[in-house]
Amino acid sequence: MSSGIDTLRLTAEEALALVDSGEVSSAELWQAYRDAINEHDGELHAFLTLVDEPEGNGIPIALKDVISTRGVRTTAASKILENYVPVFDATVAAKCRAAGMTLLGKTNTDEFAMGSSTENSAYGPTHNPWDLTRVPGGSGGGSAAAVSAGLAPWALGSDTGGSVKLPSAFCGNVGLRPTYGTVSRFGVVAFASSLDQVGPVTKNVRDNALLYRIISGRDENDSTTVDVPPVALPEGTDLKGLRIGLPRQLNEVEGIEPGVKAACEAALAKAEELGATVEECDLPLSVEYGLACYYLVAPAEASSNLARYDGVRYGLRSEGADFREMVMHTRHDGFGDEVKRRIMLGTYALSSGYYDAFYASAQKVRTVIKREHDALFERFDVLVSPTCATTAFPLGAKSQDPLAMYLTDVLTIPANMAGLPGLSIPCGLSEGLPVGLQIVGPQFSESTLYRLGHALEQAIGFDVVPERLR
């Protein structure tokens, strides 16, 4: 660290203070992270594209490669967009630029954000900074690994079924999946429109709240956004009056690792010490049917959202004697297997004869899930569980078994189906790997999630720097 800047420990809030006070220039700060990338990204592969000439006078940021950046290649980790350079910024990218942030680069993801391990990238997997033989989680594994390894002070991911929360848990970061509709999706390569939501990946809870403040709010280019009051920056550790619900089905899920369970229980004990009440409760249908519901709704929307990749206006074009053949060859050559599976699954669920049994039923199950959560929020301010039943698993462990991979998201999906915000914070280690604690609240309860997250963060004192990099 020739610049004297310890990117592994520097929080975004501290970095902002350094730049604001003039102690460090924006360019020096950007260079420090660029040096860190040059040193570590060879083994991590967190980035797909690096920016060589940053614009802006603030602090750096890394963006998941589903977020369109004007003039900077945006691939969604797919071969079909290998050379695609957007001519416009996603609203979230524009907001970051407007706040002066300098772009470091675009981070790796599962292709079109479809996956839980970042192994489905057409450009090769990202490795977990805590253990290079393990996955960083997905789909936003690149953003999480970058923040965890000090290659970026903070980053943006996108979360459809858990793609911010899960990698944050696996890499020891704080990750927020915001309330659906509070962050613009304009310019974010679509996976499933009624579920996609961009969220911050950070080293601590206050950084997360700072970044959420910048990216949230109504966008006239996204009809599904709403205005939200600025989130409160969390202070202190007082949790008096906070009612925590502990859904049995999420906390006693099959296959939960003892170390994960222990770390979560320890965190809850701390919450009680700080004044919160903790009570068990039930979410039987949401957990039982959530995964099935998700794997119908999301692929159905994806099958339609990904139909635009036809080789006409941008992206890969393969040869074909006529239009139809050209499109079929382009999509065969450009999409990876997981994307093809989901497109076919979604097409099937929407096709005549199957619509009612699959897609229409899933939409109704979504109502059931929403109602079940609504009922619990009459008694509780937040619901808490592990973010995932396990810690980061070895690369390749699930890549041959799509269903096993899908099960990774069983704890994050129910809240997502209901459009609810969820925060994952690191709450300890299990056999040397980070454990994520998921905090879910009613719509627009981000301030409450941050309050609890921040208090626990202080009480737990988790060291976010991967042991092998300390």
């Binding site: 589903v66 977020i67 369109s68 945006t74 969604a76 967009l81 695609y84 957007p86 001519v87 416009f88 996603a90 999706r185 304009f186 310019g187 974010v188 390569v189 679509a190 499933a192 429109s193 009624s194 006239e220 280019n221 996204d222 009809s223 599904t224 159905a300 929307e301 099958s303 339609s304 139909a307 635009r308 036809d310 006409v312 206006r313 941008y314 239009f323 139809r324 499109v327 097409t347 929407l350 096709s351 005549s352 619509y355 897609y359």
Partner: protein, 470 residues
């Protein structure tokens, strides 16, 4: 005993709204731009772009719905209709499906034999496709070597109006279309120009034995762009189907392309697989809830509609004249001319014949000047009247110089000319006197020619008859 057959006709009409901007982006809507200069990330379907509905398009559709006596939905939803084609950049059309903006209306069509009520099943809003140009040596689609796409029209707002299958003659179908077109134009929604494609329609035709209420297999005539062709195509299709049934055959459900020069309508190329549009609610958009006060405000903007005016004017004139005046958009001018003191029938004759043929925009005419012309019509030479009428739409037009040229009706001036002509044409005189009365016109014509058209034709004809005796 032979069966009497009853035709069953349903219409599906697309009308392009003349809003300033497109349906889901704010690119300019309308003709005239160079190819692909009215495009943006939304209407080119770049990754991440999202639709934002055009408020005016929604309101104008509601207005049309009100004019068609539809009920306006309390909640309307956009759906996606999925299919691949080069002119459909998202590979889905945003349209409306089971929750359209307007439903269950009617349009009363006055006819010479009384009024016919045509049911309106629905009127909904959707986006237009772009324009494909098929490039080929032979200029025919089948020999095309490439397709070129211009996305300027892509995403223009279209209203689709679907009638109930309760039209039972080609004449009523034609009158309905004329009346609908006039309604749309008067509401200011669209130019509805058939030759420019801003109004297009498909016709469904079947036949059944008179008195039965069954619905037999129907065929669809696509891409109609003329009211007369529609009537002709319907007649031809009715005859074809009757012939098939009378020969003991069955009608196949198919789509026919109407070619007015051919003897029969050719089936369109069948699709390689049955269409399955996989409609589902557009997740990038939220429902439309038209506010009651907005609906009332729109209702108050609707004036007396064409049907009511035909009904009213037919009390003064014949049904035929009333129909021509109203569906030709001439009745307001007619009323002004009558108010100015012209004879109603005389005014109608002028407007429905010479004026229509001249193609002058009625709105460009100063009614007071036209009134003077109509009143003076019988007293000025025909040639002068025609000349004046041709200029009546010019700015600053005054009828006075024309009405001052009274026709020559003075017998003492005309008699010598007539005498000379009789003398110069002894052969015709002999034939006339031998009983060929039709030759009167010949002599009158000669006189008019000799006088340069200034003679009063009625007086001339009396004088000629007098001089020829017999």
């Amino acid at each position: 005993m032979s069966i009497t057959w009853e035709p069953v006709i349903g219409l599906e009409i697309h009308v392009q709204l003349k809003t300033e901007t497109k349906m889901f982006c704010r690119c300019r809507n309308g003709f005239g731009g160079d190819p692909n200069t009215q495009t943006c990330p939304v209407c080119l379907a770049f990754p991440g772009a999202l639709p934002v509905p055009n408020r005016r398009a929604i309101e104008e559709t509601i207005k049309l719905g009100l004019a068609l006596e539809c009920s306006i939905a309390d909640r309307a939803v956009f759906h996606r209709k999925n299919y691949f084609y080069p002119d459909l950049p998202k590979a889905y059309q945003i349209s409306q499906y089971d929750e359209p903006l307007c439903a269950d209306g009617r349009l009363v069509v006055p006819t010479a034999d009384g009024e016919v009520e045509i049911g309106i099943v629905r009127a909904h809003l959707e986006e237009d496709a772009a324009k494909n140009v098929h490039v080929a040596a032979s200029g025919r689609i089948h020999g095309a070597t490439a397709t070129l796409v211009d996305f300027n029209r892509g995403g223009s707002p279209l209203v689709e109006i679907v009638t109930a299958p309760n039209i039972h003659s080609s004449d009523v179908a034609k009158r309905f279309l004329q009346l609908l077109r006039q309604t749309v134009v008067e509401l200011g929604l669209s130019e509805a120009e058939l030759d420019k494609g801003s109004m297009r329609f498909d016709v469904n035709v079947s036949v059944r034995p008179l008195g039965s209420d069954e619905l037999r297999t129907r065929t669809e005539l696509k891409n109609m762009n003329s009211f007369n062709f529609a009537a002709k195509g319907i007649e031809r299709e009715i005859a074809r189907q009757i012939k098939i049934y009378e020969n003991g055959g069955t009608v196949d459900q198919e789509t026919l392309h109407f070619d007015p020069t051919a003897e029969e309508s050719a089936p369109m190329r069948s699709k390689e697989e049955a269409q399955d549009y996989r409609y589902f609610p557009e997740p990038d958009l939220v429902p439309v809830h038209p506010a009651p006060e907005v609906i009332e405000a729109l209702r108050s903007q609707i004036g007396e509609l064409p049907t009511a005016r035909i009904r009213r004017i037919a009390n003064t004139l014949s049904f035929y004249d009333a129909d021509v005046l109203v569906t030709g958009g001439l009745d307001r001018l007619w009323a002004a001319v009558v108010d100015g003191g012209a004879d109603p029938k005389e005014a109608a004759n002028v407007l429905a014949n010479s004026f229509v043929a001249s193609g002058i925009d009625p709105d460009a005419v100063n009614p007071a000047e036209l009134t003077k012309l109509v009143i003076a019509r019988s007293e000025i030479p025909r040639g002068v009247f025609d000349e004046a009428l041709a200029k009546v739409g010019e700015p600053g037009f005054s009828a006075d110089p024309y009405t001052a040229q009274k026709a020559v009706s003075d017998a003492s001036a005309l008699e010598p000319i007539i005498a000379a002509i009789i003398e110069a044409n002894p052969g015709q005189v002999e034939q006339y006197r031998g009983g060929k009365q039709g030759l009167l016109g010949f002599f009158v014509g000669q006189v008019m020619k000799e006088t340069g058209g200034t003679a009063d034709a009625r007086v001339v004809s009396e004088l000629v008859r007098e001089q020829l005796g017999a």
